[in-house]
Amino acid sequence: MTGTRKFEFTRRNFLISSAAVGGGLALGLRLPPFGPAVVRAADGSPEITVWVVIRPDNTTAIRVVRAEMGQGTLTGLAQLVAEELDCDWNKVSIEYPTPGESVARKRAWGEFSTGGSRGIRQSNEYVRKGGAAARMMLVQAAADEWKVPASECTASNSVITHKGSGRKTTYGKVAEAAARLPQPKDVPLKDPKTWKIAGKPLKRLDTAKKVDGTMIYGMDLKMPGMLNAAIKECPVFGGKVKSFDANQVSGMTGVKKVVQVGDNAVAVVADTWWHAKTALEQLSINWDEGPNAKISSADIAAVLKEGLSAEQAFVGNQAGGDVKAALAGASKKVEAVYAYPFQNHACMEPMNATVRWTPERCEMWGPTQNGEGAFAQVLAASGLAADKVDVHNVMLGGGFGRRGTYPDDYVTQAVLIAKQMPGTPIKMIWSREEDMAHGRYHPVMQCKLTGGLDASGNLTGLHMRLSGQSILAAVRPEVVQAQKGRDPLSFQGVFESGEHSLTYSVPNLLVDHAMRNTHVPPGFWRGVNINQNAVFIESFMDELAEAAGQDPLEFRRKLLGNSPRALGVLNAVAEKIGWSKPAPKGVYRGLAQMKAFDSFVAAACEISVKDGNKVKVHRIVAATDPGYAVNPAQIERQVAGSFVYGLSALFFQECTVKDGRVEQTNFHQYNSMRIAQMPKVETILMPTGGPVWGGIGEPTICVAAPAVMNAYAKATGKRIRSVPLKNYGIELV
């Protein structure tokens, strides 16, 4: 029961028989007048719907196009299809259609992009329908054979039974006939309360190969005649290659070619990557470092600081009232300035891509969170037509948003190298140092919060001014243009409505953003803008509570009257951590809550602090209400892991800029939590249903930092207002 991937130069998963070749084969369109058409998988087995292939041996291949990077989406999506299909879970394997195949079939599989915690929440309905429709067709085929009404037949574990006669057949036996039936239009879905496969803590489908070294990541690809490339891009963002002398290294062991890549990078191609990297290090490259060559973190901070009091700012949330008047009339005013740094994703597997280019065909094999985005980049860089290009995704050694689609990134580079060596597969691997130098960094942001309390300590007004970088302005400028310069994503977690809305009801509220972009390229970093916005708002809530002389839990509860699900997760963590009872001696508690990606999350923690700076996080209770839970065991793992990612960011991680470039080069300067520092995480999974499915991979990260920051303030009386804590001499022990 493991996923299989093939890496042939020309992979054709789908052999299409009948007159209806080409378009029109997508879900719901495979109907007469063209007559029965059967689409076949590579092994000749019939496709029932685009999501389901049934093999003659009664095994099932389920198609997945969202990228698996550890978050478990592969298993979860397969559970949803299998649930509706009523197939035998022990006979399920996974197939991965390529973007090229999808393009050729009018995007039969929909969105490939895997970010924004969308994998399950935004494809659950159509993949479930793909499974349910296939079941209906298989049952109909059996009923047709027995000449009985389909309504008298039931399906379970890939076996169809006729109730009256007790006759039985298998999916494998009726698959050919089922594939020839028209796809039903009306496809009812099961009530999640009746789920037997989905909703259960089933084992992942991809573990076996991850414990014996046989899982193939992009880094591990091997192809006949393949060469390896090491690359160096101008360390100053926006800089260009001025000159280099290839002869300097062309005689070194294994070196085959030295090539310029675009206008800003140089690559050495060699027999092994080690030879390529060694030669690249010996090559002196003259850079035109351009206009950004002198910029430092202090310069960037100064620009952001100016934005905190700038006249003009884009409004993201103005939920009625008059915030100026409310703050002017407040009996107590609280003000604080917070800051969040650039951070690198630091995926365990550095960026890489393997490309083979000929004038007739260009294919990329490698890790991407967005197969279609990578397809578009290969298309553009290769100079070939869409039917001559394809992308083959592999297991990702971490993604966290880094392997989404960014302009002029690693996929484009690999194509530009391969193009200079037609016919030779080129595996381009970034060194860790290159990965640190050319991230797509968590955006840098500052925030000034001003809150007004009335005489009874009620929050009457809140102004949250963000100043800093926009991801969308760099990555999807068209979205920002359409909103007249505003980046809606900046307001994640503090928006007035939608999947990232602020859960608190504040009578007079204004959240605005002075956009201050930098030359450092920003990217979607697991959780994206909820990370800093949660640090800002959830730390400040504790500051307000303290100013009001109130318990931070009670203070929040009063503001959550209109958000019962937020109140639900907050109460759940408060109860489990024992908020109403005194903490053990020397132990201090903090909490935080947030809504993001349509899930409600909260965390409460217990910490102790030794010598004023050695923080031990003993215990974290985390609650999640994602609406629906497809695999509780995997959710528990995502939640626990979120604290590793979130607390590593809080304590250790900052990319500083000097002379226009990032200073940190490797994990010794950009630390990540180890097992000794890992707190015990107790997960409360409390899905409350409803019309909207929430995400899992990202939301919890954002409550990790503010919960611990609030506990730290309790423990020491010192409020820290910027990340990372190492800048204050604070250690995680």
């Binding site: 990077m69 991850k210 630091a346 860790r432 626990a640 990612y645």
Partner: protein, 149 residues
């Protein structure tokens, strides 16, 4: 140079300063051992040299000539998984899995010298980086494996 990897002795024609990691991956062709940092920080490249855990990215191949090297591919006995691999599988430890070869090798080496490690022992011995954050499951699975004789 002659290397003994997973019980198999073979000649490799490489510069003696080449890190063991890259010899294993590119010359011997075993890709289960991973490159993560190249500076002995992350542990993704952990292999056993004469039974001891070693970060192969920072060991020149010349230093291990004649030694007994075991990679993740050689940890199982034939088709029988090592008890650490078995615990990892039973407890669904890996997420992306990229660091797990190194993690498993580090844990297997720990259990060899300390069959029933305490949490403190684990904290001291296991210093590998996992960005997905599997540590809670890693700890639980170590204790599971330690119960197996």
């Amino acid at each position: 140079m002659r290397l003994t990897i997973n019980g198999k002795s073979q000649d490799v024609d490489v510069d003696p300063t080449t890190p063991l990691l890259w010899v294993i991956r590119e010359n011997v062709g075993l890709t289960g051992t991973k490159y993560g940092c190249g500076v002995a920080q992350c542990g993704a490249c952990t292999v056993h040299v004469n039974g001891l855990p070693v970060r192969s990215c920072s060991v020149p191949v010349s230093a291990v000539s004649g030694a007994k090297i075991t990679t993740i591919e050689g940890l199982a006995s034939g088709k029988t998984l090592h008890k650490v691999q078995k615990a990892w599988l039973d407890h669904d430890v890996p997420q992306c899995g990229y660091c797990q070869s190194g993690m498993i090798m580090a844990v297997a080496a720990l259990l060899k010298t300390n069959p029933k490690p305490s949490d403190a022992d684990i904290d001291a011995a296991i210093t590998n980086i996992c960005r997905c954050g599997t540590f809670q499951q890693v700890r639980e699975a170590i204790h599971m494996a330690a119960k197996v004789a």
